[in-house]
Amino acid sequence: MKALILLFIPLIFTASAADFESRQLDNGLTVIVSPDDISPIITICIAVKTGATCETPHTNGLAHFYEHMFFKGNEALQDQTTYNQRMGELGIIRNGTTATEKVQYFITLGSENFREGLEFMYDAITSPLFDMEEMEREREVIMNEHDRGLTSPFHNLTLAKEEVIFADAPWRQSAIGVPEVIQAAAPSAMHAFQEQYYTPDNSALIITGDVEYEDAFRMAEEQFAGWEYGGRSNYDSLPRLISIERDTVVFVDSPSGAGYVSVIYEGPSISTDPGDSYPADVWGSYLALMSREFYTDLVTNGPFINVYGSYYTQRYSPSITFGGMVPPDRAEEALDLLLEEIQQLQSPDYYDEEGIELAKEELRRHRILVEETSRDVAVESMPFWWVVAGSLDYYATYQDSLEVVEPDDINEFLETWIVDKPHAAFVLMPLDGKEVR
């Protein structure tokens, strides 16, 4: 494939988002660059549109297994000793995360080693070996990670949510996967997963830190143009996952004694209802105001230790969740009060205009604060928005879109997604065999 950088929908943005430019290579790879010279380091992140949401019962856990194999041997660095030695030579700090709707791998290294860092990531993404012996060892590591999750005080709650609100395909919400798949995963399955999703047209290369735009784009092109176009990902056409058909209350046993209450509604998908996501965020930000009713009723004068009501931006499992920690002996009372509050907040009178403006300002400042460092931008911010929203257009215009949200938009959002809509409530508390409603 011809290795020219196409100025295909070039994006240049500043001000409300971190400064960045985005271009696309011939092979479909999106390259995003955001310079920041405060420290002589560069972060390189590869974000891939995959995750548990792309899995089936027979592949649940492969995206996560892939994360464990990403920083293992590849055609250029075949054995682990050589691999580790190369990371030491380049001063590479590396990590990866696998979520339900997003996967990302990232390294940070000194800016003098930028070109070598790109080469390191190219080899990792394009030619993993999936050595059987390495996989055998790594599956034990993953099982230990899985078992650590079982000791979380909130493990039972997570399981209950997966089974109730994602009932059609709970595995699509479980990034860690199931032991059966972890134990049986073979190199052939990993290669098949790679061929479908780990292709340039399904990925973004994000470069932030001590680098100039043109140098970054040029070197990215030189290094990544050879990555072969795939065109096999089904990420953009998966079915919606979250489904709540009737009001449900689930009491979940809490062996550790922790108390937690949450009430969940279906929310707007960023891919099918992006316009609803802006009032949803302003509304959630309004509920986070500690000076308004939601907080004062439930925390200041109520049983909650902390509380939130928010919209989680996703494509396939977007949710509107209310909840918080509670003393376990007040969990049932807390649920009643929360449901009562949810009834009240469905009225337009619940919101004041000053609070709505405050909520918008809160979102503006929040973004500035969470993007303090170039690594924050490369790891926490851009991959999420690029994968979930499908491009950085949404990210770049987000603040402007929030600015025009009016109280009527919030009312419409409430009418569409909460008023008279079914919810699922979860109460985590020690059951000790007791009768619950």
Binding site: I41, G88, E89, L109
Partner: protein, 434 residues
């Protein structure tokens, strides 16, 4: 400020180039020292407020009182009563983070430049004129107890305290800055008032800042906010060294699918010239643990080692594993071998390169800058040591690292949380580290 518990040994005779030139020091009219680093890459400010003392300022009965008192104070003040305080937090989206450790309490503020004056003014008023309303008081108590229970219920978090039982029985640091269910349940409003009155004194405090606000302007803001804090200071005994006389293990039974283990061992105190090489050695050991325990033997998802940065320190190794007997034995073996013979020079150089990246990464965070300057000022007597650490580090040889481990690593205090119906307790014993 007089910190009599410190044995101050400035690590380097001369300053290295890595000490930033954009740091200034000044003192408020009441004597509170301020260290500020001007960084103007964006409009984010970081400012840390240290209250010096930590465990030394607590007794068995008052464990957690300083944290509890400060959290109560942060619920509102005379000039910023609860609703106004919450409105201010809403408006500014300021992030407050707090930590309460063995040597000091720290409140850190992350905010946008234009909000810093009003936020610090409110914070100063909370410290000097807190509301301490009954409802807020009970709210903090409930939240603190919940937090403590959460920490206890999570074996990954609690394992560190189990190891304390083995490593430091009777030591000053056994007094927990976060408190216990019992102590937190017992605190009264009077306890809180007395604690704030005693601790919020200029001689107990240190402020560090990193951000775009210039020193002169910062001085004015801080003077307005904290200039009325009364003079006075507390004097504490020097924290005693750890005296572990034999290998020890404390096992806690829980029905957990994976075991958790931590071993703690002696390390050079803060200010000692061996501390940085010791840290470097354990950073290399950290890489070796990953290689041996995870990559080669697949015994764990998570294992690491390091050393603390308090006045008196310990080294530690951690692992979660379904096979604690084999894993702990191998973990002890990795350290023993590092004491016995020099580690691979390539691995040492690689670790140093990665540490260099990490240092540069930290330099980009104002929170880290504030912590580094404050921690090193309190624990070594000179904030510059925060920046000279790496100069020392890069000059070390594999033999230097072996030698420093050999000088300091002695007996180990092991803590294990495991299901003893699966892992027979008679197989759990303290594995010698050398």
């Amino acid at each position: 400020m007089k910190i009599i518990f410190l044995t101050v040994v400035v690590l380097l005779g001369s300053l290295h180039a890595s000490v930033p030139a954009d740091v200034e020091e000044f003192t408020l009219s009441n004597g509170i020292p301020v260290i500020t680093r001007t960084i103007d890459n964006n409009e984010i400010e970081g400012i840390s407020f240290f209250i010096i003392g930590g465990s030394s300022a607590l007794t068995e009965e008052t464990q957690g009182l300083e944290r509890f008192s400060l959290e109560c104070a942060m619920m509102g003040s005379e000039d910023f009563p609860g609703p106004q305080w919450r409105e201010l937090m809403d408006r500014t989206q300021a992030e407050w983070t707090s930590s309460f450790n063995y040597d000091y309490s720290r409140y850190h503020l992350k905010c946008i430049s234009e909000d810093m004056p009003v936020l610090l003014s409110a914070f100063g008023d909370c410290l000097l004129n807190p509301e301490l309303g009954a409802q807020a008081f009970e709210q903090v108590r409930e939240s603190t107890i919940q937090d403590l229970q959460e920490k206890y219920n999570d074996p990954d978090s609690w394992i560190w305290f189990v190891a304390n039982d083995a490593f430091m029985p009777g030591h000053t640091y056994r007094r927990l800055p976060d408190g216990t269910d019992e102590t937190v349940s017992s605190f009264t409003a009077e306890d809180v008032s007395n604690m704030l009155d005693e601790r919020i004194r200029s001689g107990n405090l240190l402020i560090t800042h990193a951000g775009p606000t210039e020193p002169e302007k910062l001085r004015d803001i801080l003077e307005l906010s904290f200039g009325e804090i009364p003079a006075g200071e507390q004097e504490f005994q020097q924290v005693e060294a750890f005296t572990v006389n034999n290998d020890t293990i404390v096992v806690q039974h829980r029905e957990v699918p994976t075991a958790y283990a931590v071993v703690k061992f002696n390390a050079p105190p803060q200010g000692h010239e061996d501390l940085q090489p010791f840290n470097a050695a354990l950073t290399v050991v950290n890489d070796l643990l990953w290689q041996v325990l995870r990559t080669d033997n697949a015994l764990t998802y998570s294992t690491f080692s390091g050393a603390t940065s308090y006045r008196e320190n310990w080294g530690y190794m951690y692992i979660s594993t379904p096979q604690p007997v084999l894993a702990c034995s191998l973990m002890a073996g990795v350290l023993a071998e590092a004491i016995e013979k020099p580690m691979d020079e390539n691995v040492v150089r690689g670790t140093i390169e990665k540490s260099r990246t990490l240092e540069n990464l930290r330099a980009a965070s104002k929170d880290n800058q504030c912590w580094m300057m404050g921690n090193f000022e309190i624990c070594t007597g000179d904030w510059r040591n925060a920046y000279t650490v790496f100069d020392n580090f890069s000059e070390l040889s594999a033999e230097d690292l072996r030698a420093v481990l050999s000088r300091w690593v002695g007996y180990g205090g092991w803590g294990i949380i495991a299901d003893t119906t699966v892992v027979p307790i008679d197989q759990l014993h303290p594995w010698p580290l050398r």
